[in-house]
Amino acid sequence: MVKYSIVARRDLCLGCQACEIACKQEHDIPVGPRWMRAITVGPEEVGGKLRLSFHHIRCMHCSQPPCIDACPVDAISKRIDGIVLINEELCIGCDACIEACPFGAPQFNPEKNIVEKCNLCVHRVDEGLKPACVLVCPTEALLFGDINKVTEEIRMRKAKTAMLR
């Protein structure tokens, strides 16, 4: 069984935020809600050394999504391939899912008065395409696929690099 996922390799992110704008364009999101965020943390001093890191905060498409349990109108569902979706027709904009999500992923769309979030570009995935944010990333810091295939890809790259060094 597949579980589709985006995996962020934080150490490769350059903080360019192209993923954010690709997402905005793909889903026609107005100013305000941001389904994908590449958040810069730092520079800050950690143990006497400067550090700078980037964190991609978006819907994690949890295996046990707390938002599903929280939704009073059953607008949120999880597909068999792992993608968690909010049904626009059913959503009443109550924000219960926002309260339930540990990541702050669901976003309120003031133009539609409903809650939306990353849907893993389900329309693209169903056509065999990568999500918009993944396609646009300059450093391949965002990888997409069945979670265990993605981890395998990361391992292969690590192994190759270890050999080079």
Partner: protein, 721 residues
Amino acid sequence: MPKEKVIRTACADCHVGCGVLVHVKDGRVVKIEGNPEHPQNRGMMCPKGLAAKQHIYHPDRLTYPMKRAGEREEGKWQRISWDEALDTIAAKFTEIREKYGPYAITCQHGGKPSKVMRADYALMHSMGSPNLGNSDAPYCYGPMPIAEGATYGGMISQEYGSDCANSNLAIVWGGTPASTHLPWARLLSLAVEDRGTKVIVVDPRFTVHAAKADLWLQPRPGTDAALALGMLNVIINEELYDKEFVDKWCVGFEELRQRVQEYPPGKVAETTWLAKDDIIKAARMYATIKPAALYQRASIEMQANSVQTLRAIAILRAVTGNIDIKGGNVSWCFPEGFLHQLAMLGKESKLYSEGRLSDEIEEKRLGAKEYPLLSGPSAHFASPVYPPALIKAILTDKPYHIEALWVSNNLLLCLPNSREVYQALKKVPFLVVREFFMTPTAEMADIVLPAAHWLEMDEIFSQTTNLITARQKAIEPVGECWDEMKVSFELLKRMGLKYFATPAQNAEEELDYIVKGMGMTFEDLKRKHVIVVPMEYKKYEKTGFETPSGKVELYSSIFKEHGYDPLPYHAEPPESPVSTPELVKEYPFILIAGRRRIAYMHSMGRGIPWLRELVPEPQIEIHPQPASELGIKDGDWVWIELSPPNAEGRVKNRAKLTPGIHPKVVQCDAHWWFPEKPGPDHGHWEVNVNALINGSGRGDPIAGTIVLTGLLCKIYKDGED
């Protein structure tokens, strides 16, 4: 239902020109995405290009020509037809040429890499006026071609000249490619991941690249020449240089050896605020890990000693033998017969020598006397007018009267000394501005012309090292926006003039002419979309270097001839803790004025909602320690005042406290304005640091660089004055 078309083109929201797939439906752009098959970017894009849909369909976009209907800056406009606009301009230019001569018609454009530059050259040069150029010439892509031209006879640090993809060591010196040249940053990232390339970053700021580097050097702004000469001292004295290359291909090594003795690492450490061991370590790494690519960027060009700093860096590459080799720094590879968009403007150009004006006219170019290697007949590269000389000429009628200014950028914000620029824009009798939006510069115009966007034009893009890409129109221009080249040809026709440099007499023929020598037409190129020219290395073995000696000139005969020091040296910035310790008491911070943000190029993009959401305000970076002494908290508005002799007055930026900057250094944004605020100024006087920088004549003696990196300033919290 109409089908969606996908058009292959290239972005032009910065210099890089990424390959783009544009989805078009019913003649409207519905989506822009990176082209996975374009070798430049392999599917990636940055926020600017991705947001282009919001640019072209922006409700505030200028979509028809207008003429002033009230006083200048009053904001009263009357819509006119293109015919009326062109007839008016053509009549005016004809009258000026007869009355004052062609030199009285002048032009400025930005570094914007669409065909605007070529179109402006076609128009101005065909009228016989040499007085045009990019307004950032003295501090971006101006000093570098002078230094590299004198050293190698051509450039090797142009876009993609630094071949990090094949290097084992890359130096990122004075720039943040992740904010300005994202595809290069991508190549670097992949090189680190896939081949273990080591990285040295030289930057006063802890950039994203510094965070990932093997070695980060944090020099005092304005001392990069000392660092480069200190590294040369180590490399030469420890005999780590490439002896074979130096013996065979360099002249002036003994003179250089003597010069670098003045820069022992201990002394350089004092000058630069670096650790001596780090200087030695960087030198040894660069000389011994091969091949090594050295990427240096505009911050070096913005220093008081820009050209000699770039010379020292150019020489570093030469003595380590990293010239025109795979994984080093490489020069352009374009086929004979291809008229490169930049080469056509310069001596770079066996390709296009007819693009230049006669020496007699070139000598009249404003700035040619003061900065002959930048402007005029001796200029190696594009020979732009020296912008401060143009502004002075408008204001003083010296050396001659200026009657018209044709502007294709946001000159008022993008040129330092904005107050003087403002006076010049007010004074010049006839001002035409071509723009996308009603900028503070456009607000001052007599006639405003609406510009076509890159999604709306055919063009050939080739600024990178070995790629030729067809930029093809995805949609017809919105409203009555026009392609720049079409405007130039229509004006020339109305004036009874021909484009003197080519037989092409319209925009379509001009594109055909660029690739004609390759035996093709623009239509052919469109079908191919992109041509990858196979890289050729060590081209000098066939042709020598295009310097007077045919070799790499460590000791520059060109500089000697012009009375400049033939060897590089470090010079203190005119105001610095060393040269003006008295000033430092009142102005304790060294300012880097002009941070680049990924969301914007220069003054563009502030009105694009998605981009503005990413970067909503101008920001000044301050170390937490001095900030706490000054009572400045993260997010406070902070006023900036520059030391004399810069202008009195102040601008403010929002404080960002970060340990990623030296406690004695601050960095602010540049080019800010707020399209949403009322005209004519749209708030730029309050925030744009260029209003304060008043450095004409105090900068680099060779390129006339106005100091933007390494000024002195004081800062204080808003509300405490």
